[in-house]
Symmetry: C2
Subunit: 400 residues, 2 copies
Amino acid sequence: MRPIDGGVTAPAGFRAAGLHCGIKASGKPDLSLIVSDVPATAAGVFTINLAKAAPVYLCQDHLASSAGHAKAIVTNSGCANACTGPQGVADAKEMGQLTAAALGCAEHHVLVASTGVIGVNLKMDKIRAGIPQAVAALAADGGAAAARAIMTTDPFPKEFAVEVTTAQGNFRVGGMAKGSGMIEPRLATMLGYLTTDAAVDPVTLQRVVTEASRYTFNAITVDGEPSTNDCVMSMANGASGVQITDELYPALFEGFRAVAHELALGIVRGGEGATKLIAITVTGASSDPDAWMAARAIANSLLVKTAIHGGDPNWGRLVAAAGRSGAAFVLDGARVQIGSLVLFEGGRPFDERAPQAADYLAGKDLAIEVDLGTGGAHTATVWTCDLSKEYVQINAEYRT
Amino acid sequence: MRPIDGGVTAPAGFRAAGLHCGIKASGKPDLSLIVSDVPATAAGVFTINLAKAAPVYLCQDHLASSAGHAKAIVTNSGCANACTGPQGVADAKEMGQLTAAALGCAEHHVLVASTGVIGVNLKMDKIRAGIPQAVAALAADGGAAAARAIMTTDPFPKEFAVEVTTAQGNFRVGGMAKGSGMIEPRLATMLGYLTTDAAVDPVTLQRVVTEASRYTFNAITVDGEPSTNDCVMSMANGASGVQITDELYPALFEGFRAVAHELALGIVRGGEGATKLIAITVTGASSDPDAWMAARAIANSLLVKTAIHGGDPNWGRLVAAAGRSGAAFVLDGARVQIGSLVLFEGGRPFDERAPQAADYLAGKDLAIEVDLGTGGAHTATVWTCDLSKEYVQINAEYRT
């Protein structure tokens, strides 16, 4: 497997487009379209938030009625179409119908996503004018434009692709994602799109999207806020001629995981106000849920995130967050490591190492490990970012 | 019941002192002592954090071995004596022994608390010199000095007292508290001290402290971080001559609740970087735990707290936080009210009211109500504050 240029259109048989149709006042791109030349198998994982946006329900309906097939994914940014009542449901449906009509495909072969402000209705006149333009602009090198058109507060677009080599031939996996705030995907995620030219049946595609998301999109947090619109959607069109069998599943998984990993870390690096990417690894947990619970508690701790922002090796806040996480925790057995420096172990601090740890924290790409001290062998890694004044500014001014 | 001047020394038979013994480099007060003239009944509720500080264990031991009696509570600020290993345990014990010796009372009649930076050992030379000075400074009007000496990042001291009138005579309840960051007490709290000159047996005192804390100290959050040192301790010395019977328990409860309520709200008003006090009330929950879970999720949501900081009536973030809280939630039945303005109901927004809601949010004392839409009758109120750039600054620079 090797990284290759591009994103969702890196796999064969996919075209994409991105353009400004008029939803964003800024004039930035706000309509994105991905199309498979042939009907593809399709799968998705969706937000666990009970206040789901209208397009989330529509995608779940379409994937069910098409038995896991799709030809296109249309997305607008600048408006989440969430909490918009019956009008929002009708708008999401019409957005799919317009795309299906422009492409000449079945309505249930179009998946629809929206991202942006909650509680505002879609400007349907802009969508109606934009969709035919997007179809006209579809191109085999349109992935980059599509990735830009799904951005909201993202500071940069996220796309990635790999080529996987197998004894049965090569196939590609590509992807794009957006997300910067309201990010703590759970059993689901922000907006993520994964394409492959491998031939994958719908059940296997659902499985690989779910499993690849678990340690990637589901293992990141910016602010502990699972959104109303989170989803990861995938299309597999078989254009490479490689049929995914049980034997090839591990290669498919590694391809999906590699692309999802890169996109997920990109979301955290581009988190609202973020200046550092931090891998929080919990070890010595007495169960798998405990390891995740503690890692998430630490990764979402405002005190941990602000200390790291300030370059302060304040291991006491790491211990405090682990201790109140709900996971089993034994203080005397616990250990805190910042980079390669152990700052707390055997019940006592090693503060003479604090200056070295502060130097390490001046970097941009950080690893922190907390052993819960139970003697258990379970571990988990969650990626998070620091909390800066810019996060507050962005979110205090989001709609003003 | 009526509010009266003062704090922990407002009830008869209590003296207190607060002074600078040398722990804080700033020269601010850092040693606090409360003494009952006679051995009092005593009770406490303590942090559920599994990384408990040494003095927390000591207090639990002393309350057990004294069967719920104490004569004094000694507290230092500027150092939490948490995660300090065997030396920390020895230091907490010595701090109690020194106080007992200076007062001429039994060792287990002294309760000990510490607050400040985690993972740093106490400067015991300063404590050894300070305790006799504090005993010498004890005064019946020393409550205000004691309240100042427990502060860390608190912008102002918190003390309050009431006089309760009953058919059997009057008694008083007084209290003081500290806390500004690392605040989301659960089944416990920050540092809180409640005194009364009612005569209360130890079991009843424990009950009234626990019950009064539930809707006060346990219903506040600044940053969702239960600390390693949280505790509320209480002494009842009987000096008023009023014996608390079953008949008088409601009067005792109301007195404790009134004092605890005022102190708890003071902590939130003085939360790190806070500019607004916000009461988050959840209604329409299908169970009591659901109501609390949803209220806490909203009250700790960074997006809610930053939106309110910016004066943005972004009800979508309230719905999103409720929807991902884990509580049962029905979007079509949900309602969001900011002040007296309904901004979302029956599945649709009322954005025409947003300008009025923005005017309301310019205030300092705010009430927000979210109905979960399940038709259930359970409710909960949690008090929180907004999240400002100053919070980030305070916590990025705490040790530097």
